[in-house]
């Protein structure tokens, strides 16, 4: 394993008999270096295939052209779609992306963020799934001058950019709409409440019932930590209730809905004639089921794009010493009727 060294500034310096600082300035198009020498240097640089060392640059400038992205886990397609949006914008702007998953615990979330901070990333886009009773470490990161952008969750205490999708309103509006058109008995397959999105979707469901003065039947809220628990949950439900007792099943997300779909099909329950089914997220797969899944659309890729734009803005402002006004962008969600619902 022979190691061929890379050309450095000092190589160029020797080759051209010019001081290293002149070389550096020339390559950075610093105004006060002679145009002729500049050209000379650039040519030589190309000839020797000089490429700057981002580590050295980062160390010196305390800032790498790199964005950190932290996901909770990789188990839903939604995150990948967001990532796709981020990756598109960032690479257009010449930024590298470092990804990290936070896994299951608060501690891991914290570690992941700190690790990114020590890489001197230019900014961090975070999906935090857990509540942090003491989010001060987040403020610490900001104090280091690293812009933080939060996705899908708001911390009142923290002044930052936010991109959230309106989980609450999405569910609330849709359920409300169904009720107002006469739908009565509505189930909710509830996700892990530690995750804020699950919490907000449940809340939307409850509030819609409340507003319409429908009393909450606790049996109608089926808690599932994971999509694998959906079928059991439904089995329990139907051991207690008849088909006619149920009009619509709403779900924490599309994956829950897929499970429900399978369950219903297995039991020869017709969708939507016997029971209607509603997902959440509009995962790409939802077009391919049959019947095609009605769902609540969440513009995943667009969220990635917007988040990227916002954080790049903030970075740019900071670099130029301008003040910057934080924004909260609420991405609207909307009911998307396909075949698994009637209304």
């Amino acid at each position: 394993m022979k190691k061929s060294r890379k050309t450095t500034l000092s190589d160029l310096s020797k080759a051209l008999n010019l001081n290293i600082s002149t070389i550096s300035r020339a390559l950075n198009d610093h105004p006060k270096v002679n145009e002729t020498t500049k050209k000379l240097i650039k040519e030589k640089a190309k000839e020797l295939d000089y490429r700057p060392n981002p580590l050295a640059q980062g160390l010196q400038k305390q800032n790498t052209k790199t964005i950190g992205v932290i996901f909770p886990t990789f188990d839903t397609n939604f995150f990948f779609r967001v990532l796709k949006g981020i990756e598109k914008m960032m690479h257009e702007s010449g930024y590298q992306i470092i990804i990290s998953t936070a896994g299951e615990s608060r501690i891991q979330e914290k570690k992941a963020i700190q690790s990114l901070s020590s890489y001197h990333v230019s900014g961090i886009i975070v999906f935090l799934s857990f509540e942090h009773e003491d989010p001060s470490f987040l403020i610490d990161i900001q104090d280091e001058g690293i812009p933080l952008l939060f996705m899908d969750r708001i911390y009142e205490e923290i002044d930052a950019n936010y991109v959230i999708s309106d989980d609450f309103v999405g569910m609330y509006d849709t359920v409300n709409q169904f009720i107002s058109k006469g739908t009565k008995n509505i189930i909710h397959l509830q996700g892990n409440l530690q995750i804020s999105t699950a919490f907000n979707r449940l809340l939307g469901y409850k509030e819609a019932l409340l507003k319409n003065k429908i009393s909450l039947n606790p049996d109608f809220i089926i808690p599932c930590q994971h999509q694998t628990e959906v079928k059991t949950g439904l089995r329990n439900l139907f051991s207690k209730y008849a088909l006619e007792d149920i009009d619509l099943i709403t779900c924490y997300n599309d994956y829950y809905a897929f499970q429900a779909l399978e369950f219903l099909k297995e039991n020869n329950i017709r969708i939507p004639q016997d029971i209607q089914l509603l997902g959440f997220a509009n995962e790409p797969l939802s077009v391919y089921t049959s019947p095609k899944l009605s769902t609540i659309n969440q513009p995943a890729e667009e969220m990635g794009v917007i988040a990227s734009e916002m954080i790049l803005q903030e970075i740019q402002h900071n670099q130029q010493g301008e003040s910057y006004q934080f924004l909260t962008k609420k991405m609207s969600t909307f009911y998307l009727k396909r075949e698994s619902t009637l209304l």
Copy 2:
């Protein structure tokens, strides 16, 4: 935007009145530093929340604990599943992941790789989609001491680790099996042949026919650059052939198959009774269609895991100056019968 500085070795050095080198050694558990001082130093480090600066370390050691991953594009779920496998292994081993997409051109592929190299990543996992007439830049990277692992494509000229899924055999075996059980008229929806996987899958199809002395009907190979062209392709086919003339449609990948599925349903063609349909890749969505899609399984996540293990092995060997024997791991693909086929 106040900037709170991070604690560095020299901060610790001052605080403890010890030389910086002792601090460094202590924290790296170097044997020749007194156990008591070691403990002292570590405590202080924790107290001041010292975290090493990976940039400085990388610059010094010419190696960051970072793995680069290059994808062609992000438009199929397959890559995400591989990424999931990679991310799992790498974070277990304390490596960060930098991702990059190569986009549409050879030039971009080359740039992406070189950019990663200048980040002094410890290794690069690459999906290259294009043929490179001059792959010498890849060898250059290796010469810099950066292990390269190729996914899904073999370069005869380049000695490296490879993880490939057996596209050819997967398609060949399956088609062969169908023929031997009496299936006659088999279509292939062919992908973009610039991409090696598309090429190999087509080849598998052709060879299977050849082996069984079935003459190739050029009409039966329908070239589609993209899944969006599938329906048009099929429309053309059926303008020339009757339903009875076709027994089975094989596809470049599951997404092509999904399109075909829609087309067939739209035209009230029953699957699999009238026409059978076979995908490729076993994308997660293929369970949710109806009928459920039969496909050829490709163990995506596992490929990511294996690739990670292999490249970590190589890195470790290199670091210890041991010699390392390159491997080529061929992941087996297999026919997965679900509901869209009969056999």
